[in-house]
């Protein structure tokens, strides 16, 4: 693997260097695109298709999107592209998975909800919630994110203030991420 600097990657991409472009999409982005392919796209989309989509997105207007990275100091391209890729493919996933033409009922919920890719996401989150050692944290996330209770309702339920609920929620999310990162 070539150890290009972030600046060399950007320069090479903009100069349409085949070597830099290949390394960027097939080495630097490899782990994230494979993760997106597997966990978001359920392996229904080929790796090369993801590369193609991301290439088209990033290369628009002479790679203008890369300039938004250039403006931010002290962060690495490898971290930036993770955020950009997940965000981009999250927006594109229904089209890429062929859900664009699904009929919607009056509530905006797909008729074939069981086919929705979100079912797997919910299961994944529930599994991590089950693995959390602090049951209070898991319970709070379950109530707020799965059952839709807001902070005011949670404050009444937990006999505390809304500000404290947000503090607990923050610690709960940090614990959730720690568990999620370590168990996969």
């Amino acid at each position: 693997m070539n150890n290009y600097t972030d600046a060399q990657y950007i320069e090479g991409l903009k100069a349409r260097s085949p070597q830099v472009t290949r390394d960027f999409f097939y080495q630097l982005c490899n782990y994230t695109l494979n993760d997106i392919r597997h966990s978001m796209m359920k392996d229904h989309v080929e790796y090369d298709d993801l590369v193609n989509e991301l290439f088209l997105y990033l290369s628009q207007h002479d790679w203008h999107r890369l300039d938004t990275f250039s403006a931010i100091n002290e962060c690495h391209l490898s971290t930036w592209i993770i955020k950009v890729s997940w965000r981009f493919f999250w927006k594109q996933r229904h089209r890429l998975l062929g859900y664009d033409n699904c009929d919607m009922d009056t509530n905006g919920i797909k008729e074939s909800e069981t086919d929705s890719p979100d079912i797997d996401i919910i299961m994944d989150v529930k599994q991590t919630l089950d693995d959390m050692p602090n049951r209070r944290y898991a319970d709070l996330l379950r109530k707020m994110l799965l059952e839709g209770h807001d902070a005011e309702e949670m404050a009444m339920l937990y006999h505390t203030t809304e500000a404290n609920i947000y503090n607990i929620k923050h610690r709960a999310i940090l614990m959730f991420i720690k568990i999620y990162v370590s168990r996969k």
């Binding site: 782990y31 930036w80 979100d118 929620k169 999310i173 940090l174």
Partner: protein
């Protein structure tokens, strides 16, 4: 959906959060406050997981 925690103005903040460097900051609390769905939580965890992996690779 993800835009609520991923506004361009907060790009640096989110990156610090997902790569773990700013996880204890006040900005991090602002991010977690905006997490309102299971999907947002999942995306945040996914991005954090990939960022940790990228960090490990960089160290090697």
């Amino acid at each position: 959906m993800i835009e609520t925690i991923d506004m361009e103005s907060n790009e640096r903040l989110l990156m610090d959060f997902i790569d773990g460097t700013g996880i204890k900051s006040k900005g991090a609390q602002a991010i977690t406050k905006r997490v309102k769905s299971v999907q947002q939580l999942w995306l945040l965890a996914k991005m954090a997981k990939d960022a940790r992996h990228a960090k490990l690779i960089k160290k090697q």
